[in-house]
């Protein structure tokens, strides 16, 4: 075999040597995520610390995978858990059934259940996958509880449930960009997501364009950058 034909076989390989690297070293760094990603749920609270869930079971009714189990109970009059009459005193989500469709987030009348951006978790038994109310509820700072088998990183709990804030309430486009939700403990009133109309504030909603995410993967001859 002649030498030119030998290296000719490596032509594609050698050309790719100079191209940008695309591998994301997952355990070291996480891929940036869009703000509307559906991850693990959190049960949020009002800014005064009261729980938002009123135990209406609408989320359980709408869930297509039947992964939510809620039971409401009358608030104790001397120390109410939530403003109003009732609160959810049992709240369980089976993460081995949840398909993260966010229909529960849409159905919730008080924005009690929202989704964070943490999606890196795994279980060694089926029983671990059933999250109870104590695990789903945010702590006293309003931050989600970081359980040992979950991989939380910086920013996973920042801009949660952007989809809800883009379409709520009732999914009507006429309400786009209008705040129709209450404040949350630790975060205050969240900024509305920009929809397709162009009115958006990406710096406050954490929105990133897919082109910015994928910029390092564009080939050099198409204008990509080598990192």
């Amino acid at each position: 075999m002649s030498l030119p034909s030998f290296f000719g076989g490596f032509r594609v390989t050698l050309r790719q040597v100079l191209e940008p690297r695309v591998t994301r070293q997952y355990p070291k760094e996480k891929q940036p995520k869009p703000p509307r990603l559906h991850g693990r749920h959190v049960l949020s609270r009002y800014e005064d610390g009261m729980e938002k869930c009123i135990g209406c079971e609408l989320c359980a009714a709408v869930c297509p995978a039947d992964c939510i189990y809620v039971r409401g109970k009358d608030n104790p009059p001397e120390s109410p858990v939530s403003p109003g009459e009732r609160y959810g005193f049992v709240y369980e989500i089976n993460y081995l059934r949840c398909i993260h469709c966010d229909l529960c987030v849409e159905a919730c009348p008080t924005e009690a259940i929202t989704e964070s951006k943490m999606f890196e978790f795994s279980f060694t038994s089926r029983a671990d996958a059933i999250y109870t109310r104590e695990e789903l509820l945010v702590d006293d700072d309003g931050r989600p509880q970081k359980l040992p088998w979950e991989d939380w990183r910086e920013g996973d709990d920042e801009h949660t449930s952007g989809w809800m804030r883009a379409t709520a309430p009732a999914g009507s486009a006429a309400y786009e960009g209008q705040v129709q939700w209450s404040g949350e403990l630790g975060y205050g009133v969240r900024t509305p997501e920009g929809g397709q109309s162009g009115r958006r504030d990406d710096s406050r909603t954490g929105n990133i364009s897919i082109r910015a995410v994928e910029a390092t993967k564009i080939p050099r001859r198409a204008g990509g950058k080598v990192i």
Partner: protein, 189 residues
């Protein structure tokens, strides 16, 4: 296995660590994509997430050469005996990752056609939630499995029956099912 007869001393302890390190550094998965989760499994094996970093880029077509079965997708009743046969053909030691909610519990397909959890057929080590789990979730499950190999006994034999401690036949009134101890893993940075 031959290591059963050895007493536990410094030499065999070190050897045990070495065996575990070798096992978890080259977990070869069997090709068992069943549904849309297999797309994410392929994505995890491709350049973006690159399972070769964990020594497991070779998805073996033969179960005899595989250590790990990633059940990626919903298991229909018709597929269940095939899955069990592939599992039986794999050599010990072998592990199973149930990838996605359909494989783990049937997910949203709560009907007569889908097996409600692959742990009714094969013992499952790690469950990856999500519909489908992203490549990072799958890698997290793989790292959990690595941790399970690292902390487990190397001469373990599988007990017969179902995985995940789920007992189907032994229903005793008043008997509290012991909850399996979870493996708590911090993901290595």
């Amino acid at each position: 296995m031959g290591l059963d007869d050895l007493n536990h001393n410094f030499l065999t302890g070190t050897l045990e660590e070495l065996v575990k390190w070798a096992r978890r550094s080259s977990v070869w998965p069997a090709t068992f994509g069943l549904a849309c989760c297999a797309i994410e499994m392929m994505a995890a094996g491709a350049a973006d997430f690159d399972l070769a970093r964990f020594g497991m880029e070779v998805f073996r077509a033969s179960p005899r050469q595989a250590d790990l079965m990633v059940v990626a997708g919903r298991v229909s009743q018709k597929m269940a005996p095939v899955l069990r046969q592939v599992y039986d053909q794999m050599m010990e030691p072998k592990w199973v990752i149930s990838m996605g909610v359909c494989a783990s519990t049937g997910g949203m397909f709560n009907n007569y056609a889908i097996v409600q959890g692959v742990d009714q057929i094969v013992p499952v080590d790690v469950y990856a939630p999500g519909c489908p789990p992203g490549p990072q979730t799958l890698i997290h499950a793989i790292l959990t499995l690595h941790e399970k190999i690292r902390t487990g006994a190397i001469t373990r034999r599988r007990s017969d029956g179902t995985g995940a401690g789920i007992q189907i036949s032994e229903e005793v009134p008043g008997w509290v099912q012991p909850r399996p101890r979870p493996v708590h893993v911090g993901t290595p940075r």
